[in-house]
């Protein structure tokens, strides 16, 4: 092995460890019996494993409901953001129209404003509209956050499907809508599904807006943050909660990794 390769692999190892190590430690801790967790010095590899810690977490007050809330908000976010971003993405990919570039820029511009700055006016507005502490309210904010991503992804998905295919379908007797439904959509489906799943993860992990805008109807991350910050939840609760949060995201990202790479313009073969 050349020196160059050695350097490359070491760099990869460092970056990989940077991401993976916390996850590994959290996972180990989540399955460690409570008394072992408080031992000092603690061994890196625990001598016993248990499901009690996780069970304790899932049985804690509000966790199951918050999980349901999170799933509800995430699903609604997917629905709303696709309703808006999918046609936008299709139009940006297929048509040249006045203001096209401006629109593309404007979509990204929503990312310019830090959520922290927007939080107070947002909370005030939501109270006025009766959206405060509702799951719909959280879903709306998550939709706003995910639209830029979904749009960019949808544009690249549709750009990857030649318009000539739709035209060919039209010359063979389809209407424009039929051509889309029978040719473009089936081909776009895997990419769109990946975008949907990515949106799910985005919403599932979002903690700031969820914390600010809810009181009783907490999503899971908001609940965990609140238990930890406000109520000083014990160590094993934190680890179990962290594990519980990270697993769905991890599994999903693993499943759609190939799409995520192509979506960001990197083609892996």
């Amino acid at each position: 092995m050349t020196l160059r390769r050695l350097g490359l692999y070491s760099a990869a190892l460092v970056v990989g460890a940077w991401v993976a190590l916390p996850l590994v430690l959290i996972t180990l801790a989540a399955f460690t019996p409570r008394d072992l967790l408080y031992q000092w010095p603690r061994r890196l590899w625990p001598e016993a494993f248990t499901l009690d810690t996780l069970l304790f977490f899932t049985r804690s007050a509000g966790v199951l409901r918050a999980t349901w809330n999170s799933v509800f908000v995430a699903s609604m976010t997917i629905g709303l953001s696709f309703l808006i971003a999918a046609p936008t993405g299709y139009a940006l990919a297929r048509y040249r129209f006045r203001g096209r570039d401006a629109l593309q820029l404007a979509i990204l511009a929503t990312k310019m404003f830090p959520a922290t700055v927007l939080s107070i006016p947002l909370a005030v507005a939501f109270i006025r509209w009766g959206l405060y502490d509702t799951l719909v309210g959280v879903a709306i904010v998550h939709t706003a956050l995910s639209i830029p991503f979904v749009t960019v992804i949808v544009v690249s998905v549709f750009l990857g499907i030649s318009f000539e295919l739709e035209e060919a379908a039209m010359t063979l007797g389809s209407s424009r809508a039929q051509a889309f439904l029978r040719v473009t959509l089936p081909m776009a489906l895997p990419g769109l599904a990946a975008a949907g799943i990515f949106t799910f993860v985005l919403s599932w992990n979002e903690v700031f807006a969820a914390t600010i805008l809810t009181l009783d109807n907490r999503t899971l991350p908001a609940l965990i943050i609140n238990s930890v910050v406000a109520a000083g939840a014990p160590l094993h609760y934190r680890f179990a909660g962290g594990f519980f949060m990270v697993v769905p995201a991890l599994v999903i990202i693993f499943l759609i990794r190939r799409y995520l790479l192509t979506l960001w313009g990197v083609t892996v073969r």
Binding site: S162, E164, L165, E167, A168, A169, M170, T171, L172, G173, S174, S175, Q178, R182, V183, P186, M187
Partner: protein
């Protein structure tokens, strides 16, 4: 019956003019080739016939029916795209019957016609495959099958051979010609390859800058180009153009060119007599110049610059007077660079063009 009548088509994209002004009648069952350099509007014209481009002006009639406002699917056309546009997520069979399904043709009839078409194109054993498992040539056959299974009145083809390698292209060219004879659809075929155009077209419409420059049979286009552009675009090597002066001598019309003079056929005298004494461009194809090693009467002296053997013949570049000419000679003629040779232009094959406009003048020889 599906003759096509294009009446005064015009199409612009913003300030770019794709079709300036185009009218053309295509007979039922004819194989018409639209030929021209890239950007001449040939593909736009084809797409307009297909209904994929909305025109600024003009009418398109197919089989006596005004289809200008109809969507592509209702025009009785089928199209083969340059990229083939075979649906990658469908098996070959589903690709082939796609149009029949859209038209609501019964399942049994679909199968029968798909089998028949697959046989015609030799893709019967590929029907269960996905396009990704096919070679370029096979994908092209699928694209053609998908079009002709519709039994279209009009078959449109947009550079269908340009993505194939040279050998396969030659093969498919012959296949397409056979297919046209068997299917009999009126066919409009777009290409920038003049050999393809000459070999396939019943008639060829040569386009430039969004308009048809000349439309005629392969022989007409090749032998009597309407202007300098057609002469230089068609034929490899292209037609030679040398400047000359017309002059009347001994009751005949003579053109002084390339340091010599050639007596023109009498037919030209009547139509060009009043141009005597004026400048003119002499167009002559490389194979219509005879080369001799020894001096002969009415021959023009020239010097050999380059000799390129290209297999069937030798391509020679010679200098006569101040003009450079390309000449094709048999392989057995022994010539060396810097050698002195004598050229004889075949007067019957000379095509005279106006020095200013580049348009052909005088009656066709």
């Amino acid at each position: 019956m599906a003759e096509i009548d294009l009446q005064g088509l015009r199409k612009t994209y913003g300030r770019v003019v794709a079709i300036r002004e185009l009218s053309l009648q295509i007979r039922d069952g004819e194989f018409l080739v639209l030929l021209g350099p890239s950007g001449c509007g040939k593909t736009t014209t084809l797409r307009a016939i297909a209904g994929l481009e909305a025109l600024d002006r003009g009418r398109i009639m197919i089989g006596g029916r005004d289809v200008t406002a109809l969507p592509p699917g209702k025009r009785g056309i089928a199209m083969v795209f340059q990229s083939y546009a075979v649906f990658p997520h469908m098996r070959v069979y589903d690709n082939v019957v796609f149009g029949l399904r859209m038209r609501g043709v019964p399942e049994a009839e679909q199968r029968r016609r798909a089998a028949e078409t697959a046989d015609l194109l030799g893709i019967a054993d590929l029907l269960d495959r996905y396009p990704a498992q096919l070679s370029g040539g096979q994908r092209q056959r699928v694209a053609v099958a998908r079009a002709i299974v519709m039994r279209p009145d009009v078959l449109l083809m947009d550079e269908p051979l340009s993505n194939l390698d040279a050998l396969l292209r030659l093969h498919m060219r012959a296949e397409l010609k056979r297919l046209h004879r068997e299917v009999g659809s009126t066919t409009v075929y777009v290409t920038h390859d003049q050999l393809e155009a000459l070999s396939l077209g019943d008639r060829i419409a040569v386009m430039k800058d969004g308009a048809i420059v000349q439309c005629g049979t392969a022989t007409e286009i090749y032998d009597t180009p309407a202007n300098r552009f057609v002469g230089s675009f068609i034929g490899a090597p292209p037609m030679n153009f040398v400047s000359g002066t017309l002059r009347a001598a001994d009751g005949r019309l003579v053109v002084d060119t390339a340091g010599g003079s050639v007596a023109l056929p009498d037919a030209l005298r009547t139509s060009l007599g009043e141009r005597a004494g004026r400048e003119i461009v002499v167009g002559i194809r490389p194979e219509h110049i005879e080369v001799a090693a020894a001096q002969a009467t009415e021959a023009i002296a020239a010097e050999v610059i380059v000799v390129e053997p290209v297999g069937a013949y030798q391509l020679m570049t010679v200098r006569a007077g101040r003009e450079l000419l390309k000449v094709t000679v048999p392989t057995d003629l022994d010539v060396q660079p810097a050698q002195r040779v004598w050229l004889r232009m075949n007067p019957g094959r000379i095509r005279l063009m106006d020095a200013q406009t580049g348009q052909a003048v005088g009656a066709a020889p």
